[in-house]
Structures are given as structure tokens and as C-alpha cells.
Symmetry: C2
Subunit: 412 residues, 2 copies
Amino acid sequence: MHPLPIAPPPRLLMGPGPINSDPRVLHAMSAQLVGQFDPAMTEYMAETQELYRRVFRTGNEATLLVDGTSRAGIEAAMVSLVRPGDRVLVPVFGRFGSLLVEIAERCGAEVHALHAEWGTVFAPEQIEAAIREVRPTLLAVVHGDTSTTMVQPLADLGRICRENGVLFYSDVTASLGGNDVRTDEWGLDAVTAGLQKCLGGPSGSAPLTLSPAAVAVLDERRSIEAGLRAPGAGDADSPAPAERIRSNYFDLAMILDYWGPKRLNHHTEATTMLYGARECARILLEEGLDAAIGRHALHGSAMLEGVRGLGLEVFGDVAHKMTNVVGVAIPDGVDGDAVRGELLTDYGIEIGTSFGPLHGRIWRIGTMGYNARRDAVLTTLAALEQVLRRAGAAVTAGGGTGAALDVYAATA
Amino acid sequence: MHPLPIAPPPRLLMGPGPINSDPRVLHAMSAQLVGQFDPAMTEYMAETQELYRRVFRTGNEATLLVDGTSRAGIEAAMVSLVRPGDRVLVPVFGRFGSLLVEIAERCGAEVHALHAEWGTVFAPEQIEAAIREVRPTLLAVVHGDTSTTMVQPLADLGRICRENGVLFYSDVTASLGGNDVRTDEWGLDAVTAGLQKCLGGPSGSAPLTLSPAAVAVLDERRSIEAGLRAPGAGDADSPAPAERIRSNYFDLAMILDYWGPKRLNHHTEATTMLYGARECARILLEEGLDAAIGRHALHGSAMLEGVRGLGLEVFGDVAHKMTNVVGVAIPDGVDGDAVRGELLTDYGIEIGTSFGPLHGRIWRIGTMGYNARRDAVLTTLAALEQVLRRAGAAVTAGGGTGAALDVYAATA
């Protein structure tokens, strides 16, 4: 085997993410490396922190990147904030809520899950009642769960958490940049994300922010790596075993010491991913956060009305739908995977399948990041019409693009 | 603050890594994304697995990438193979051995460390005696430890481990591609690496391989993520809590199910890092593994003789030195950090500082990956001579480049 250089086929990625990367992000990632403690590098790190403070709408000093996918950010937040035996409350309304449960369990937490039917979200009162009953140390909730296309309102939860002495964590991977996320205003103590959704970058870097209250938890669990201690310092810097964070790679106290003024060596920062993460935030803020959210709302509406215009049914509680992804019921008698395959093979367009209880029942179509664009929406609807007709589904000729164009005309 | 696009200053990175990325790797990383389960993507994943089998010199089916830095690969191997309470033996001859101790401790292992003086390595008999005494389930040893520039011979350890029923793990991050690494021939059960040393890529992806014996341990600890289980399947797929791997992100059983024929969704593969990792292996094998190791040996020798030719003293047991990095004693009266700063500012060249007991005593100069080149060696020696002279050190004019050119002439 002598593989050739990378030359991927052209694809228009209209699934629930990852989506096509903004070419400016890939361009930034092709820049040559500098050393880990080069003044240029530490300046890029500081700029990246400041950019993500603005993206997260926070004043948190403790804002940085975890070197891994969005799931790495989730695990870093959980394993650093949750002590074995701590009670964690997780309202679950989709697959990624189940992931929070699973990760919290593996951290040794006593996990209490609330369940909402897929396609719905929780009322704040339900979560408040559960907090009063469970008395957790941490509330962990997904913001936008692409598995169901729902976005859980968070605005009231911060006050409830504060009143009950509970830390408040949210995974905003799928919502950030295309839906409103307000870290400080909503009273969030920990927020984690990824690049591969509305930020228009590749997976592999997880922006994260921590409130002073979250940092106070880390301060009780901080240790200094053995190989970095001054000679003769011994283990004096290590906390009691019960306090010790169970992971080195995800030890946010150490990672903060690396990103902060101490610049204590930890992992070797993934420079190319940092270049990409910085560019994602830079171009998002150049557009303006509110403008980007408005763009996602516009193209998400056009796609929603477009699939309805084709005669298809939309999944779930549309009032709580994320801007950037729509669930579409697979018509009776249509083979969902065959339609997806034909879209990919004949049109180079990818739409998403589904997980768990929705598998085989809905497709998920995204309009996010670089692909929250008029041409991407119209091309997808045009191709979907052709493929559905060939699959024997009853579709309204021109109904998809027509409805989408009506949305654009109404907002022009 | 309105930061500009990424435009790093030109640097020649001659430290212990990261080093400059091969431009072909950065080019591969600028390719557009495809979907996570696109046939093109799964084919790239399969090719990457096969390429790294050849780089690791193994037939192990279980060969893949962990999405994180080399330290993520270490933690994935440890947390997946070590059950809380297991005994782990770690021979420590530098900082990265201490890191293995720390990570094993955090996994809940009972860790037994052997210590060698920095600048030396272990005789196999020392490790064999400790194995007989400790009776660990896992021997974890760094191959090349850049903190001391030493490479621990591993060839005899696999037999000792097999005779004693011990799994054998090595971190070859700093050695792979520039020093001999023979997974199957040496009887290794788990090997982890990174891209940022002799492979000539950026940090952020950790190639990893596991023997069938290591996979058998994972098989006892395998679970299926809650959000992916068939409706009604409940927790039947989950192992007993004592067996459960403490991390989801680093659960190699799950990651194998994602890379293997089941293609069970786990994290969202970091596509751009995968493109880079694939290209690193592709160009290494295009050159030929033995040719690349020979190239590192040649340019490493030229740098070693060059620094001696300048009148500087080399650190440690040179018979056990890695090919790709040399420790250089900072001359008396010279401010090591000032010299490094002047090299960076005036010549754009980075050399390394040191950790722990060697901090302030030695510089570390690398010749690895894309920078294991004649022009990089000679330029570094020429600049070092200038800077050292200005710092008041006694240096032999032309002695560095002259000695290096003699090495090249002798091997021409």
C-alpha cells in the first residue's frame, strides 16, 4: 500500500456537524509552528483566551482550550469539578444528556438523571424541584442537543443554582455561535464547546470557560506535576488523595497553570488546532455575535420552511428548536439511508441520520457555521426534492426552494 | 482588541520538540473536511491505521489515533489497561517517567517506581529483579526521554514481561521515526506516540497500538454508550463498576469500536489532525523507516560533534543518547536563558531549556523530523558560536560547523 496525499472529494456537509470548515480557518491552520513558549505563541494563547471570553460572553479569566474534541472539554470540566461521591443532576433530553450522565458516572459521581421525551425540553420548575430534592453539587445540562434538535432554555437556571449552592455547567458545543449563549448573564460556572458546529472549524479543540466559583473548586484540588517540582520539594504540593483530580490530561487546575502567568509546562499545546480555534473566534467576532446568530436563525428558518414546503413533517417542539439543525420525518415507505446515500453519491451533499429512539425515523439537516448560507440551503432543498421523488415519495415540485425563497424575500 | 489573522514569525525550531512541521503535513491539514462516516473518511481512517502499523512495526489490528496530544495517548493506554488497585512498575530516568507514575497513580494504580540517575538508563536485570519483587500487571516505561536525552533499551524487556505475565507498555513519543522502535519484535503490548518530534507534524494526535493481549483486557471492560444503545437495552451491556474504564474519552474499547468495523459513534474524529497524522506516516514511509532513522543518526551525530567542536560538554551517557536530541552543559558564567533569548531574537532559532534537576544546567538541542537536515544543523551551530562568544564563553571559532562538516564528509 502506497497511499497518495490527502485529496478528499468535494462535499457539502449539511448534517448536524461536523460541517465544512470556513476556508479561512483551514488557511490559518496551515501556518508554520512556533515554539511552545515563544513570545508569539504565548501572545496567540492570550488572544485566543480573550476572543473566547467574548464568544462565551464572559469576563472569566479562566477561559482556554482543551486539546481534544468537544467531548474532551466535557470530560475535563466534569473530572475537574466533580469529586468521587458528589451528587450530579443531569436533565436528559437527548443523546448528549446521556453522555453527561455516563461521564459523570465514570468520574465516580452519584448521578441523578431527569428524563424528558425526545423532542421536548424541561421547564425551569422541573429542574428546580429536582435540585431541591437531590441537592447536587453540580447541575450539568446540554444546551443544544443535535440528537433531538432541541435547545434547553438556560436563562432561569443560574439563579436557581445560586440559591441552592449548586455549580452550573452546560455543554454548548452545538449551539455556540448560532444560538444565544450568555455565560455570565445566565450564571453559568462552566461552559464547554467545540469548533465543528456553528464556529465553522474542524473538531479537535474544545473552548472552555470557568467562573471564579468553579476555579475555587480547582484550587482545592491543585497539584504540581512531579517532574516539574523543584528538587527536594517532594509531594508537599499534592492534595489529599480524595481531592486529587483523577485525570492528568484533563486536570484543569494544571491546564490553567499552563495558560496562566505561571506558564507551567503541561501537555504540548496543539498549535495548529489553536491557530484554528483562534481563527474561528476571530471571524465570528468580525461578523459580530448577534449577526452570526441572526444568520443562523435566517437560514435555519429557510431550511425549516423549505422541508415543510416539500411536504415533509418537522420533528419535535419547533418553539424550542435550535436555529442550526432541523429534524425531518422520513416519509412512510422511504428508505432513509438510501436517500442519504443518493444525496451523497449523486449530489455530494451529506445530511444526517439519527441515534437511539429516532434512528430510522428522522433525518437531521444542519445549516451552521460556514454552511449557514443561502446557496447551501437552496442547493440542498433542490437535490432533496429530486432524490425524494425518485424514492417514490410525494413531494411538491419546487415547494422546497419556493418556501425558502419566500423566507428570504420576507426578511430582505 | 481586533486580532489579525495568524502570521507567525519564521522560526527554526531546534529544541526537543515541537519542531517545524514538514510543509507537506501542513498542506494536508488544509484540505477541506468530509463527513465522519463518509466512505472517503473511513477509507482515510483505515489507511492511517495501516500506515501506523508499518511505522510501529506491528501486525496489531488495534492501531489507531487518540484525539489529543501525546500525553492523551499515554493516559488512554493507562486508564484503559489499568484497573484501580493494579500494581504498575515504572522505571523512571527522566521527567516523562515521572509523568507515567503520576498518570498511573491517578488511574488508581498501586505504583512502584524505580529511579535511575538522570543521564543514565536501566540494565534489563534491574527491571527484571523489580518485576519479580513487585509482580505488577503492567510495566510502563518511556523509550526516549527528551528531558535527559536518554533512550532506554527495550529489546530484552518483552521476554521478561511475557515470562512474568506482565503487560508491557512504552511511550515512544520522542523516539519514533528517528530511533529504532519494534513493537512486535520487542514484545510490546501497548505503544503510544505523538506527531511533534521525529514525525514532523504538529502536536494534537496520538498514534497508538495495542497487542491482542492488551485488547483482551479491554474486552473485559467494554461497554456501549447509553445514548447509542438500542431502545430497551438498558444497562445490560455495561460491565461491573469495578471493571468500568474511568474515562469515556479515553475508553480504548469504545474508541476501537469506532475505528473498527462496528463504526460505533464515539467522539467526532478530529479530521484535520487525522489528515496530518496520515501525512506524517505517509512521508516517513515514503522515505523509508530505516532511512529516516539513519538520517536522524547522521544529523544527530553532526550536532553532537559540532557542540563538542565549539568546546562545549555533552550531558549524560552518550552511548545511550537518543539520535535526535543532545544535552549541552551551559558553560560556567553564562546565562542560559539569555543565550536562548538572543538565539531566538537575533537568529530566529529556538533551542530548549531543561526541567527539574537539570534546569539551568543544560540546553537541549534537537535535530528531528523535518529539521534533521544539514542546513539546520550548520545554521544552528554557526549562530550558537556567535551568541556564545558575545556571552563571554570561550568558543573555538569555526569549531562547531567544522566538526559537523567532518561528520558529513566521513559519511558522504
